[in-house]
Amino acid sequence: MKSPVNYLTIPALALMLSACGGMDTKPVVSGAEASEAPAAAADSGGATTSAVDALGVINGVRIDQENSPDSVRTIYFEYDSSEVRAEFIPVISAHGELLASDSGIQVVLEGHADERGSREYNVALGERRAVSVRGLLLGSGGRDSQIRVVSYGEERPAVVGQSDSAWSKNRRVEIRYE
């Protein structure tokens, strides 16, 4: 059996590592424009032009309890993986802080899998994903008593269809406030 201490440290470490990785944001510059511009400039009497980094847009995540369409409550996963992708760490930690701020808040983490492979194994995979998200919620202040995990495996696809794109939308954990 895992000790509760291990249980808390691993996600907390993951949170720190991924947060550092997440800061290393690349400027939003289209590769095609950047390479064509100097070539065109070379014909015009020796003058050369260069580009500066775009200011870019910083997108915060909104995770309010209300059903606002822009609040992020779905965490997506890679095939056969329950590892939380770096891009979702800020989202989950924001949910964790919300749980920490009010012990009356309850969430259900619904784990899901894509339709490939065996059904009951997919239920287990969906649970493992939800448990990963729970670990991060606990790591950012949520309490165990506030979180319930249920896995539907492949039984409740978000998108119906047999394509990589449909499958990627079905491998997910939905955070539902009760």
């Binding site: 492979g117 065996s118 009951e120 194994y121």
Partner: protein, 432 residues
């Protein structure tokens, strides 16, 4: 003894019923075998003054035999005569039509809704009757009787027990965004489908009790997984497991006294057994990996299960009362959902390779693995009780359909529902 709650819910979202929904599976033979025995099932004679029988017994027998993949049947339009008993048969004509065996019979009305059905199976080459029987019948029992007669004929001609008087259970999902789920029980030919549970939440993993009278299944009706056992003859059911986390993959022991199942309330999915009489659970696996999809070996000594303890899902066995787990699959990086053939000689499973998930058959003695199907999303294999045919779920034109394949891979048929997605077929044991 701790008493568990007996739940009998009749609500808006869920109702348990024996009502017949007009739903029916349609059957299409998609691949035939080469070595078939030619038979002719002559239309049955009729003697009576009341209403004619509701079912054409001869036609049902003929369709059953064709569907088994082992027989071809002479078309009625090609028959030069239509005898209804073994007397006075012109064997020369049947030999010219290359018929090896002849099925003849008649239905006689004896009283209001009482009939006697006479049948003979005749060997055309030896010109001798192989079997003859008489059965009582009424309007309600004709179809069942026709299936029974097919079983007798099939066993006489192949030496193997027939499976025409068995059933199958399966799950359907209909209605797009907020689907309705049904657990159905149908005859093995897809007819006579009856919904035994309807729910607004998913249902999974139907498993037949060895006496064919009960089904264990998983229901998410309270937005969590729970395992129920339902008597299919009375519609009554009982919740046997509703722990925190996963309650999944129920499987009956061959003696019907225990269930193997998956529970995750101690942190991760492990295999447990549940004693139906004492209501006690015992934990069989204690691994930190995923352990799920238990199935009992036919002799009850071992439990087969899926585990990713080696990194990827593979099949393992463990003694049913505890011990060391042993890995049994090594080919490919995805083997899951294993089931034993009734004689224990084979294990069918979902075998993933090159982005396709197909049904494969592992020969227990040799370790030889044979891929039987050619879909990309094949799953949920279930053996017919005679071990000859595997029923499984596949994707056909975007929705789930059922398929059947003979274990030599030579014969395939497809069963589709006009209503929507069909999945998780479970073939019943022999009728008892």
């Amino acid at each position: 003894m701790r008493k568990l709650t007996v739940v009998l819910t009749l609500g808006m979202l869920l109702s348990v019923s024996l009502a017949s929904f007009a739903s029916r599976l349609t059957i299409e033979i998609t691949q035939g075998t080469r070595a078939t025995t030619p038979v002719a099932v002559v239309p049955f004679g009729w003697q009576g003054t009341g209403p004619k029988p509701p079912d054409d017994i001869g036609r049902i027998i003929e369709e059953n035999l064709k569907r088994s993949g082992r027989f071809t049947a002479l078309g009625r339009q090609d028959m030069l005569s239509r005898p209804t008993s073994g007397a006075g048969i012109n064997f020369r004509n049947w030999k010219l039509l290359n018929v090896d065996y002849l099925v003849v019979g008649k239905v006689q009305e004896t009283a209001h809704d009482e009939y006697v059905v006479q049948v003979q199976l005749i060997n055309v080459l030896s010109e001798k009757p192989l079997a003859g029987f008489g059965y009582p019948a009424n309007r309600k029992t004709f179809r069942r009787l026709a299936n029974h007669i097919t079983d007798v004929i099939y066993e006489k001609l192949t030496g193997e027990r027939g499976i025409f008087n068995t059933r199958m259970a399966y799950v359907t999902s209909t209605g797009g965004k907020s689907p309705t789920y049904h657990l159905y029980v149908a005859d093995s030919d897809g007819r006579n489908a009856q919904s035994i549970v309807r729910s607004g939440e998913p249902m999974m993993s139907p498993a037949w009790s060895p006496d064919g009278q009960k089904l264990a299944y998983v229901s998410f009706e309270n937005r969590r997984s729970q395992i129920y056992i339902q008597n299919i003859l009375t519609g009554q059911r009982e919740r046997i497991s509703g722990f925190k986390g996963i309650n999944g993959a129920p499987a009956w022991s061959p003696d019907g006294r225990r269930l193997a199942l998956t529970l995750s309330h101690r942190g991760n999915p492990d295999i447990y057994t549940f004693d139906i009489n004492t209501r006690s659970f015992s934990q069989l696996t204690t691994n930190t990996a995923i352990d799920t999809e238990p199935e009992w070996s036919p002799d009850g000594s071992h439990i087969l299960f899926t585990s990713d303890r080696g990194g990827k899902p593979q099949l393992y066995t463990i003694p049913a009362f505890g011990g060391r787990a042993m890995r049994i699959t090594y080919e490919g990086d995805y083997n899951a959902g294993g089931v034993y053939s009734p004689d224990g000689k084979y294990i069918a499973m979902v075998h993933g390779r090159d982005k396709s998930y197909r049904i494969a058959l592992l020969e227990a003695d040799t370790g030889h693995l044979q891929i039987l199907t050619n879909g990309i999303l094949d799953e949920s294999p279930s053996f017919a009780p005679n071990g000859r045919i595997l029923l499984y779920a596949t994707a056909g034109g975007g929705i789930g359909v059922l398929s059947a394949v003979s274990i030599d891979g030579r014969y395939q048929q497809r069963l589709a529902s006009p209503d929507g997605d069909v999945r998780e077929p479970a073939w019943s044991p022999y009728n008892q």
